[in-house]
């Protein structure tokens, strides 16, 4: 069994102070989780495609292939919504996206991109250039660009977070007893020639405002997963707003 620090967390390299803080925060979080897991789990085997990182908790390395969002009644599949500044995760108010295809415009369905979804253990960067001359995002690996107030937004993960300029680790999702956790600090939304870090925890390791950790469920047999988190926008025109992400689909190991 590999150690937590070599499997779950990136090595402490020559990094900025922020990166070190973020890594330390992740280490503390992961260590806490490890202690919890060690005290309660049954030392189950790693599921296919998972790297056993500690007893009962494995890093799922591969592709979290997304089911496209749909709005037949209650939303299903993968979608995103944005809580307005001053709102709550439960009650909103939410930003009504006029380009949403849902009857509830606060829900913006998202569809898988050319990579099929979120890839863990690596990055899915934006192309260069990342925007067209209208400000539409060109990133289409994780999800297909989706309209948001007339402009397409895209999603990417890259080693240097484009909003903060901070080095961030590649997304890591851990499974333990059917529950998902981990970090998705590198998750970045691009829109209108702007970048918005939408990770959890944030690049500096903090969880400001309504930022909520990665959580979800995972079925080892089928690979079906639900992955959720919330991330406050820090700085910029949507400072204080919070993106709420709901990804659903099937995990395919690398």
């Amino acid at each position: 069994m590999t150690t937590l620090s070599t499997t779950v967390l990136p090595p402490l390299r020559r990094t900025s102070r922020r990166r070190r803080l973020a890594t330390l925060a992740l280490l503390a979080t992961a260590t806490g989780g490890a202690l919890t897991a060690c005290s309660s789990d049954d030392g189950g085997d790693a599921p296919a495609g998972g790297d056993a990182s500690r007893a009962g908790s494995v890093a799922l390395v591969g592709t979290f292939a997304l089911d496209p969002g749909a709005c037949d009644g209650a939303p299903s599949g993968s979608y995103f919504r944005m809580v307005n500044s001053g709102g709550t995760l439960e009650e909103g108010p939410y930003f009504p996206n006029p380009d949403s295809s849902c009857s509830d415009p606060s829900i913006t369905p998202i569809a898988p991109g050319t990579d099929g979804g979120l890839v863990t253990g690596g990055y899915q960067p934006s192309p260069d250039p990342a925007f067209d001359d209208q400000g539409n995002a060109q990133a289409d690996g994780i999800t297909a660009p989706a309209g948001f107030a007339a402009i397409q937004f895209g999603l990417s993960t890259q080693e240097t977070d484009p909003q903060t300029g901070t080095e961030v680790p590649a997304p890591e999702i851990l499974a333990a007893d059917g529950e998902l956790s981990g970090q998705i600090t590198a998750w970045s939304a691009s829109w209108n020639s702007l970048y918005f870090n939408q990770g959890s925890p944030k690049p500096d390791g903090s969880s400001p405002g309504l930022t909520a950790p990665v959580s979800g469920t995972y079925d080892e047999e089928t690979g079906r997963f639900v992955l959720e988190w919330a991330s406050a926008v820090v700085d910029g025109p949507f400072n204080g707003f919070t993106g709420v992400w709901h990804l659903e689909g099937t995990f395919t190991p690398a």
Binding site: S85, P96, P105, G135, A150, L194, P237
Partner: protein
């Protein structure tokens, strides 16, 4: 009996102590006012606002608001049954219609305030980089302290250097605000800070973010609900003729987003910076923070440290070969007036 040459005349010593106090005061000022933290934030704020603080750009924002206003008025005022039906069928448009009078008033007022302070902003931006401000106190303060300390610790030597140095620094402190036109620019900065006091608040920025959301959602409703519904009934060309202002808004919307989004971002990002700068002493006082110590230094370096000329010394010297200590010229002072 103490050697008179080893003593510093009380007046001279007092002058040097006063200079020392001025030096230490200048050193303490940036720390006392937290300038090393606040001044760079001011520099950031000035830099962040720079792209927007031009007459054409501000006029462009007014045009953006006018474009939205024209569209909303057009749709709201229309009595064309097709438009009325489309308008009433669009749930997404209603919030914009209802809130627009307030949004329009607030946004126009905000832009008026900013436009009115364009000159003030430009005056402040023309000052030296805010981040340097603490050093404008610290560096002369350190030099004054060093010179005063030298004068106190080595009274017999380097009097000319002490006097000349203090005089030069005093003149520099007086000249700097004049050279940087601080007597005009600093009060202009004060007026800008006053005008922005109600703009650069978390509450106001949050309200504008909310307005932005309402405008974006409402424009989307016009673009995706109202205009298509009208076009479906009477055709795209007729819809464009019926709703020219709305059609113009749809065409301009991406540009409006490109204008407004970064401006709101700059406002939001600089709420803390504004508060930091507002916590500094009032801008109009800044030139006096240099002039006042400069004048004092000149006074100290002039009359305060001036020694008597040799002839005067000779005249006042007692016939006795041993002058009294009180009458003895301060050691080295004569050097300074040669």
């Amino acid at each position: 009996m103490p050697d008179p040459a080893s003593r510093t005349r009380p007046a001279r010593r007092g002058a040097l102590l006063a200079a020392l106090a001025i030096g230490l005061g200048l050193i303490a000022a940036p720390v006392a006012f937290a300038m090393f933290d606040r001044a760079p934030q001011g520099a950031t704020m000035i830099a962040d606002f720079e792209p927007f603080m031009t007459a054409p750009r501000l006029e462009g924002f007014q045009n953006d608001i006018a474009t939205i206003d024209a569209a909303v008025r057009e749709v709201d005022a229309s009595t064309d049954p097709v438009v009325v039906e489309a308008r009433e069928a669009s749930a997404g448009y209603a919030p914009l219609s209802e809130q627009w009078p307030q949004i329009h008033e607030d946004m126009t007022g905000l832009l008026d305030d900013v436009q009115a302070n364009l000159g003030n902003y430009q005056a402040v931006a023309a000052l030296p980089d805010f981040a340097l401000f603490p050093w404008f106190f610290l560096v002369p303060g350190a030099l004054i302290t060093a010179l005063a300390g030298l004068g106190l610790l080595a009274p017999r030597r380097r009097t000319a250097l002490v006097r000349g140095g203090l005089a030069l620094l005093g003149a520099g402190l007086i000249a700097a605000p004049v050279a940087f036109q601080m007597f005009d620019r600093a009060p202009a900065g004060g007026r800008m800070m006053d005008a922005f006091a109600t703009i650069q608040t978390t509450e106001n920025v949050t309200r504008i973010q909310g307005y932005f959301a309402t405008m974006a959602a409402g424009q989307g409703a016009l673009r995706l609900d109202v205009v298509p519904a009208v076009a479906q009934r009477i055709g795209p060309d007729a819809a464009a003729e019926t709703l020219p202002a709305t059609t113009a808004l749809d065409a301009a919307w991406i540009g409006i987003l490109g204008d407004m989004t970064p401006m709101i971002g700059a406002m939001s990002d600089n709420v803390d910076s504004y508060q930091a700068v507002a916590s500094l002493p009032p801008f109009p006082l800044f030139p006096w923070f240099f002039v006042a110590p400069g004048v004092l230094l000149l006074a100290i370096a002039g009359p305060g440290l001036r020694g008597r000329r040799p002839t005067e010394e000779a005249a006042t010297r007692a016939p006795s070969p041993t002058p009294s200590p009180a009458d003895a010229p301060a050691p080295g002072l004569t050097e300074g007036v040669r």
